[in-house]
């Protein structure tokens, strides 16, 4: 699994960090998404999928 994030779409809702703080963080500067793990291990795959589904701005994609 590979996670991609698009900071230009991100609206800083924080839903990804709320869902899995091991995978995502937010920039102190403008609150946009910071990806911590591009290739999540098995135990974080569900969190990655959930975060992508919850993201209000469609800024997270899973491939």
């Amino acid at each position: 699994m590979k996670i991609s994030v698009d900071q230009t779409k991100c609206c800083g809702s924080g839903m990804c960090v709320l869902t899995d703080p091991d995978l995502f963080d937010q920039s102190e500067d403008d609150g946009t998404v910071v990806l911590l793990q591009e290739n999540p291990d098995a135990e974080h795959e569900a969190g990655a999928k959930e975060a992508a589904g919850l993201c209000p701005a469609g800024a997270i994609t899973i491939s």
Partner: protein, 404 residues
Amino acid sequence: MTELISEKLPTTRQTPFDPPAEVTAIREQARVSRLKFSDGHLGWLVTGHHQVREILGSPKFSNRPENHHLLDVRFQGDLPEEKDKRKVEPGMFLSQDPPDHTRLRKMLQGQFTVRRMNQLSEWIGQIVDDQLAHLRTFDGRADLVKEFAMPVPSLVICALLGVGYEEKSRFQDDTAKLLSLDSTFKEAMEAFQRIQEFMRELVARKKENPGDDMISDLIATGEPTDEEASNMAMLLLIAGHETTANMLGLGTFTLLQHPDQLKILKDEPGVVDNAVEELMRYLSIIHFGPVRTALEDVEIEGHLIRAGDTVVMHVPTANRDPEKFPGNPEELDLRRPASGHVAFGHGIHQCLGQQLARIEMRIGFAKLFQEFPDLRLDVEPEEVPLRTDMGIYGVHSLPVAWSS
């Protein structure tokens, strides 16, 4: 295809906690249906969870008020003139589209991150403790809204913005007038202008004497104009105290009326995070919207929404859509996986302060029932005054009692 047409948005509730049965019946027939507006426009009513998310997440829909046909739930007999309706105040990012919205919201996003909000937990806990101690000074009975639900978020947002809580007379009554469905357009505008004036003064004061607060930080970026900064601050002030206050008030009423669920919250403290999500899903206090207008033709669920058509999203029914929340979505179930609700909206306008609101609610509900485990309603449930007359639903007051 024969389309379901509603002459008017049904707003009459049969119970305090459920959306109008007529809207639920509409969803059961068609998640996307037609709705007539007071100016004769034939727009749309969207009641399905998936469809609400799709529209709110789409760049093909605008939130600029000049694009919207006006929903006839307010300003009866006193409609704004076209020129007034068109005016978008600088800095009011909620009423703007990209790229203006993006530029303004970005200036604030860094202040509302999950990490920053988590760092406030202890401080918010202290505010809640102080307010509960205040509640206890009332001899076994009080109005929970006045003494707890309203002050907690007000104190929090005032301190974050650097507004003196003792100055609340400058904005609290006017905020209520602004949000009341019974206000005429003129009354609402006058209230708006008075709050705006207060915020202009505040921004001028912060420029002179910066403090350790969000408005000073916003000004220090050098990005917004003074007018933008004061309107942005106003938006945060209004959004920050009315919404959370109503969730705390109505949420407490709901829990008191669902003793089996309240018992779960008391017995299993770990359930509180999900309980907050479920209460938000179940209550959906933004009960007439949000509204969007199509910028181009869009097909949703086999319906062609044409450019210029205004669409009303019905959050309370969308949040009870069995396609998204299978089982018994009409029931309050604090253990249900409730994430994915649209009570904070969806898309680029999704609530900026949601992580703050979550922490206030988690701490607020948990501590309230720890400190007052035998809290009970002090009137008959049907006597609780409901905010059916307000843009944000809730209770006007909640008389409660406890054994001292």
